[in-house]
């Protein structure tokens, strides 16, 4: 099954965006992002702390709906999901 990962702003600059990736059923949100972010140490460090937990300012969305950081480790991704990972917003 495939999902799409969209990074924005600083995360996009470090990791790219619109990354379509094959995942095995049962893959959890956190592990998918961890794997994807590992491709670039600076990108990984932007999103995760030294213990491998999300920085508290990171925002996650699944199909346009917010996912709490604490729920991400136990939230599975399913075929066709659009995952978004971004830093605090600064519009206006």
């Amino acid at each position: 099954m495939t999902v799409k990962i969209r990074f924005f702003a600083r995360f996009r600059e470090l990791l790219g965006t619109d990354i379509v990736t094959e995942v095995v059923p049962g893959t959890m949100f956190t592990s998918l992002i961890t794997t994807t972010a590992r491709k670039n140490p600076a990108g990984y460090a932007a999103i995760f702390d030294e213990k491998g937990a999300f920085h508290e300012f990171v925002i996650l969305m699944k199909n346009g709906k917010r996912i709490e950081l604490t729920d991400a480790a136990k939230t599975p991704v399913v075929d066709g999901d659009e995952i978004a990972v971004f830093p605090p917003v600064a519009g206006g």
């Binding site: 702003a9 925002i59 969305m61 830093p87 917003v89 600064a90 519009g91 206006g92």
Partner: protein, 140 residues
Amino acid sequence: MIAIQTADVDIGALIAAAKKQGTGAVVVFDGVVRDDDITEMELEAYEEVAVQELEKIAGEATRQFGLLHVDIIHRIGRLTVGENILIIVVSAGHRPEAYSGSRYIIEEIKRGVPIWKKELTKDGGRWVPGEHGHGSGKSR
């Protein structure tokens, strides 16, 4: 009109169109690229979600303040100093509602709409930190 777009808008035309029956006051907020030693500003949005959020904010402002009309146009792409970033036009029967509704909209945008700004300087660029540590409206 609720939009995320690269093009600028004609504010005069928006004001004219905002004068719905019963209008006594129109308030316009125009956020502008400020000359903070930058060359340009680059704006980026999670567009589909940002538009949904703007629509939600406009609806909530309309209900809460009895607004008669709301426009929110947030520009993205590369903008130079002095250019319009965000234009909010609201109309209401009386001025307290128009001012409060306009202010509500900009504060909610700052708080939770997935848009980011990078200031481009001679030495490179810096992402503008959000005013709110967290920031996407979904968890409100």
